[in-house]
Amino acid sequence: MNVACDWAFPLVWAQQSELDSIPWLKWIIVLAVVFFGIFPGIVAYTVWGERKVAARFQDRIGPNRVGPLGLLQPIADAIKLITKEDLVPRSADRWVHLIAPVLILVSAFLVLPVIPFGVGLAAVNPPSGLIYLIAVSSLSALGIFLAGWSSRNKYSLLGAMRAVAQLVSYEVPQVLSIVPIILWAGSLSMVTIFDKQVLYGWFLFSPPGMLAFVTLTIANIAEVNRTPFDLPEAESEIIAGYHTEYSGMRFGLFFLAEYLSVFAVSCLGTAIFLGGGTLPWPLTGEPVVTLGGGETLFAMLLLNLPLIGIFMAKVSLYIFLMFWIRATLPRLRVDQLMAFAWKFMVPLCIINIFISAVWYECVIRPSKPNYLLGWGVTLPLVVVSIIGVLALYRSSMKAEPVELTTGSRRRSVVRSVS
């Protein structure tokens, strides 16, 4: 139970009682190397990976001109973006125009430090880590709105309004599908959640867990504006959406932020549902602890290397899943998009919270977990609720009530009578 917290944290982030004795140097090194070195690198190669993978899905090759296998492509892109002319429209609001992408990028960065990449290998472990995570990830909606607004371009504004409407709509199921995890782990701390999975196995392995994972994944994809939920940037309708008026590196910031968010939400999904760096079966935790023994950062990293490897493999799979979905599905229509969030995802997530409480009562609360009962009770519940909500959703999509009709339809009704 106390695998990570008690063992690793005091070693790494010596819990000081005074601000003056904070290990500034260590932190700055970590920030510079991990947060502003490794993570942007991962992001850059996520872009490269997406281009390669998407190419394969379309029977193409993908980038291959710059360096072997096109591996230098991200660097070339960066150089290209950075040497482009910095264009800001005359009528734009210059400061807000600059702040907006920064805000989005910052929100993507702030998600990362609470993710536990290995045993005790989260940068920080605030007790309310999970709510902190969703709080900072919701900042990006504001940035997108500001980007669209400040450009003073109709397409931008339209794209931004759409984007915000979409983001806020899908944030609800995203937030709701995390609740089962909190319920089972009994904590908002990401590290504790990781610990619980070390002990009990992945939270994915239960019917409500699977359902929550699926809803979380869908909501995640919508949150990072990827196909099939990329309405905000629907090229065929609104050019490039909220970043129409951004060029050069300013656009690059959006780009970076988008892929950083992809990475971040994949880390989130991995950390809370897929057991972080653990293997599918529950461990007692002792092997991990006894392996360490060392008290240095180096020993700690050494111990964690396989865990980080597993974690990254899972994250890669998760990201690959996003690429795969992108390669397969067409863009949704805006009304379908919103209806899907509110009429399907939200009810399903709310029901799932109660199903997960049932699972808790069957499996986690008893001293001797009764898996058979848990599966026997929750699986039918999950299936029934999916079918029920789907039926409700589809019936509503078939026959929308004609009440709220603005403008034309209502007038036509009146005219037809008179």
Binding site: Q16, L81, E85, P347, L404
Partner: protein, 119 residues
């Protein structure tokens, strides 16, 4: 103490702002600069923009925003409930069922009223 987690996060925040601004500044130095009036125009597929950009939007956006607001605040209650569930037991579950039912009526109301439909 907990606070020191947030000192790190504060440093990350400042660092991220710097990380975001640095390339823009570098771009200001490196990039060529050839101003022209038509470059500074608002992009509208090559046409001159007409009319007000900050047009009035449909009320639909506002309705989605308040739906979100309500469910976001609900989260604030839901998460502590989930954390404390282990200690509170079935009574808390019943309470939360009631709470969520109340909010679900709000959702159902919006649904039935047809405002969830994007027209």
């Amino acid at each position: 103490m907990i606070i020191y987690n947030y000192v790190f996060i504060g440093m990350l925040l400042l660092g991220a702002i710097g990380f975001a601004l640095a390339p823009v500044i570098v771009m200001g130095i490196l990039a060529p600069r050839k101003r022209s009036s038509s470059k500074a125009d608002t992009y509208e597929c090559g046409l001159l923009t007409t009319g007000e950009t900050w047009v009035r939007f449909r009320i639909q956006y506002y309705i989605y925003a308040i739906m979100f607001l309500v469910f976001d605040v609900e989260t604030v209650f839901l998460y502590p409930w989930a954390v404390a569930y282990e200690r509170l037991g079935l009574f808390a579950l019943a309470e939360m069922v009631v709470f969520l039912l109340i909010l679900a009526v709000g959702l159902a109301y919006a649904w039935g009223k047809g405002v969830l439909k994007w027209v």
